[in-house]
Amino acid sequence: MSDLTLQQDLQGLKSLKNERNAAIDAASTRPLPKTFPVNELASKLHPESQFLKIKQVIKHSADERSFVLEPDTEKGTQHLAYFRAGQYISFRLKIGNSYVTRPYAIRSAPADALKDQYIITIKRVKNGFVTSFIFDNWAVGTPVEASAPAGNLYFEPLRDQKNIVGLAGGSGITPFYSLASAIADGTEHVKLTILYGSRQHDHILLAPEFSKILSKTNDVKLINVLSDDDIDGFEHGFITAELIQKYAPKTPYSIFICGPEAMYEFMDKEVKKLNLPAGRIRHELSGNYGSPYHETDYPADSRDKVYQLTVKTRDHEQIISAQSNESILVAMERAGITAPSLCRSGECGVCRSRLISGKVFSPEIIDGRRVADSEYGYIHTCASFPISDVSIEVPVHDLADQFG
């Protein structure tokens, strides 16, 4: 190629830069947009925080209450985030010195969220730290703060069968109540059969509310299963594989399980006997995981110890104590550290933190970490129990509105 051609080609290339400069010169100096419709949609669906106010308290019994929530417009939440029936919101509370979170399923229908209303139903836990506080303190007008809706226990047409068998225990009935409501009002197009396990007849949550839904639709069925009471019209015993087969439809179905740890583990075993294809069984823990001591791979000599936990956040360091039977998250909450968390069952990853030194035990059933995280020393504090003195780096829980 001749030198002349090269000169011409180089000139041609340089002209690109002139074009670029011309485009810049011709451009406007108007301020750039601060937001865009798609970003607005994101902030409506997934606000970092929802500021709520209690509109009404419904007392079902001494230990069961529903709270009707509305947006706290003064604090900046104009509307409630829409959700998929079965999702939860995680409340953020300051109790004494502790900053804690607790997830509660939204038991009202998604359609109600469009009218700026959520309802949650809470079962008081005996000596419960948060539920006791809620029962003592939440009244009409109380401002409360929660996360955006989260969780994956919802009907997904490309994955789930058109028939859902819901296995619920205790407060685990709440997501199914929402799904049943969404079926009744035409939002969801599935058939739902719920097997609801309670100890006694008067422990059944939301019975009158359910009757109303059942009268509106033929697509929802509810079978109460009582372990302690033997009453006509109710199943007696536990939710076993045989019982599921007795009520499950003859066409293919998906099973959704939601209940406290003990029931969840029992039902898991029963469901395995049905030999359903993988993916037909979905579950969510409704409640705390509890102590790790019963896990077969738990190192016995770490039992009943109190370890030293060093928590580094940004350029700040604090040393606290941590009990071997409580998660690292709870240890931090007890010490008044504002640590991030959402689901509290190992799944969402919001509590992800870096292990600098020491050892933790992460029970397999709640270890939802990414593979590389296990390799590079990251833990989910809600699903990690100290088995030595431990040092961790925890991100702040910055609740500034991420879309602000």
């Binding site: 190629m1 690109l16 108007r30 919001v350 992800r352």
Partner: protein, 511 residues
């Protein structure tokens, strides 16, 4: 509070490498990230027993230990120990409309050319010429991309005259000039989607280089998803005494006398001698700066540009193995038309016209990526975020399920592989998802659209001017000089950190 040499905003691919590079060069470095994970789009997420790759299709410019590409060299310099798997074959492209075809293209220059000759007899000569040109581009790039702020174009031109000759001409135009038969062109057009610029707009230098790089050097995926790479780069930062603060949102870049001096997080200001933003300028100038502080050239440039496309992805965890399902390809491009301009135009609207879909089966590249007896598929489509402007919260789930259903149907009918009944887990990402997690305007994933004056060559030539919009403020990432893509963003982070280090060294001398 201590003052840092370098504050990096955003731990995406560009920001991670910028921070790790600065720290490795001995600069005190603080990396700030609003999310609780590093990587931006280069992350992973779990559903049931699957851990999904959210964004990476194939890492380009990695290469082998014997023939390392720029990214491998960079990773070696950073001291990363990430295990990669080479993706088998280049790609399969299925044109499902009238005059359709189905081409399974191998890697390796010779094999690729042979295959094309078999599918399009008579294409050998022109395609061989194409490879020569693309190779020259690749070599020219390799020479200047590590130091793009100081290029002697004349010297490059003497060494790589064809590169300079064809550089800014549109890809399609050059293929025409080389007499590459139409069908061969169709097959060689597929990669436009990785940058989001159609073949008749896309400068030859870059697109030719890209195809040749993938074919000759192969493409790679990390063993435990992109999250592994991101975590490893972060580790280099930490090992070199850098700090990384997650869940930390930068609200504002603090400007004094027209110069960037620090950042504001919450009520606190943190000072840095140099600030690197792995955040698109539209957001920096639109939201993170007082209007009176915004530099005129930066503002005008941002206004002159067009936001790039966003994406729509369907992630599928299947309860059968690829063998059981009959999946044979890592990467399949499917569309009724092979015309990249038509494919591109269709991304501006949310309707069935937009049928260009890439389907990847990760197990074909990395068999251990999901439990035995399962497989992972993910489909990718491009959409301009604005085509989702009308979506409301209450119909959002329905909209995404409908498109996901179309994607599954399209894949099944184009390949004959039945997947619908094997779906164990599914997740769907949309422009909303990217707006949520990346915070990008309109959920863009590709930075700015490549107008001819705003593609790789023009950006490279303007790199110093672009860097001088405001003293002590620099940019890197997917909107950088090499445009979007993992390799490009990594490289731009590296280059920006090096430019910053040079400037800091000069300041030392003048002191």
């Amino acid at each position: 509070m201590k003052k840092y040499d370098v504050i990096v905003i955003g731990a995406g691919n560009g920001g991670l490498v910028a921070a790790a590079t600065a720290a490795k060069r001995g600069l005190s470095t603080l990396l700030l990230e609003r999310h609780n994970l590093p990587g931006g789009a280069a992350t992973s997420f779990t559903r049931g027993r699957f851990e999904f790759e959210p964004s990476l299709h194939e890492l380009a410019n990695y290469g082998t230990p014997e023939m390392p590409g720029s990214v491998r060299q960079l990773f070696d310099w950073l001291g990363l120990h990430v295990k990669f798997h080479e993706a088998p074959g280049a790609y399969r492209v299925i044109k499902s409309g009238p005059d359709g075809f189905d081409a399974v293209m191998p890697t390796g220059q010779e094999a690729f050319i042979n295959k094309l000759e078999e599918l399009v007899p008579g294409s050998r000569e022109s395609v061989t010429k194409f490879f020569d040109l693309g190779m020259e581009s690749l070599m020219a790039f390799a020479e200047f991309q590590a130091k793009p702020n100081n290029i002697d174009w004349h010297a490059i031109g003497e060494k790589y005259p064809h590169f300079i000759h064809y550089a800014k001409r549109p890809y399609k135009e050059v293929l025409d000039e080389l007499n590459v038969p139409q069908k061969a062109q169709d097959i060689m057009m597929a990669y436009w989607c990785y940058i989001g610029v159609p073949g008749d707009d896309f400068e030859f230098a870059y697109m030719g280089m890209m195809l040749v790089a993938y074919v000759v050097m192969g493409a790679y995926v990390p063993t435990t998803r992109s999250h592994e790479i991101s975590t490893a780069i972060l580790q280099t930062l930490l090992d070199n005494h850098g700090d990384a603060w997650f869940n930390t949102e930068v609200n504002r870049i603090v400007v004094e006398n027209g110069k960037a001096v620090g950042v504001q997080i919450g009520n606190e200001t943190i000072y840095g001698r140099e600030i690197i933003a792995d955040v698109i300028p539209t957001t920096v100038y639109g939201k993170m700066m007082r209007a009176s502080d915004v530099p005129e050239r930066g503002l005008k440039l941002a206004n002159a540009r067009t936001l790039g496309t966003s994406g729509f992805l369907v992630y599928l965890g299947l309860n059968k193995s690829p063998e059981e399902l009959g999946i044979k390809d890592y990467s399949v491009f499917i569309s009724k038309t092979a015309d990249s301009s038509e494919q591109f135009s269709a991304t501006k609207e949310r309707n069935k016209q937009n049928d260009f879909t890439i389907m990847n089966c990760l197990n074909l590249a990395d068999p251990g990526c999901s439990p035995a007896g399962t497989s992972v598929l993910y489909a990718t489509k491009l959409y301009f975020g604005s085509s989702w402007d009308d979506v409301q919260p209450e119909n959002y789930a329905k909209v995404k399920d409908e498109i996901a259903q179309q994607v599954i149907d399209q894949y099944e009918s184009a390949t004959g592989v039945k997947i619908r009944d094997a779906v164990e887990e599914i997740e769907i990402a949309t422009p909303e998802t990217f707006a949520r997690y990346l915070r990008s305007p309109e959920g863009e994933i590709y930075g700015y659209y490549g107008h001819p004056w705003d593609q790789m060559l023009a950006r490279t030539m303007a790199i110093n001017e672009d860097d001088q919009q405001m003293p002590h403020l620099h940019f890197c990432g997917g909107s950088g000089f090499l445009m979007d893509g993992y390799s490009s963003a990594y490289q731009s982070g590296f280059v920006t950190a090096n430019m910053v280090a040079e400037q800091l060294a000069k300041q030392e001398v003048t002191k």
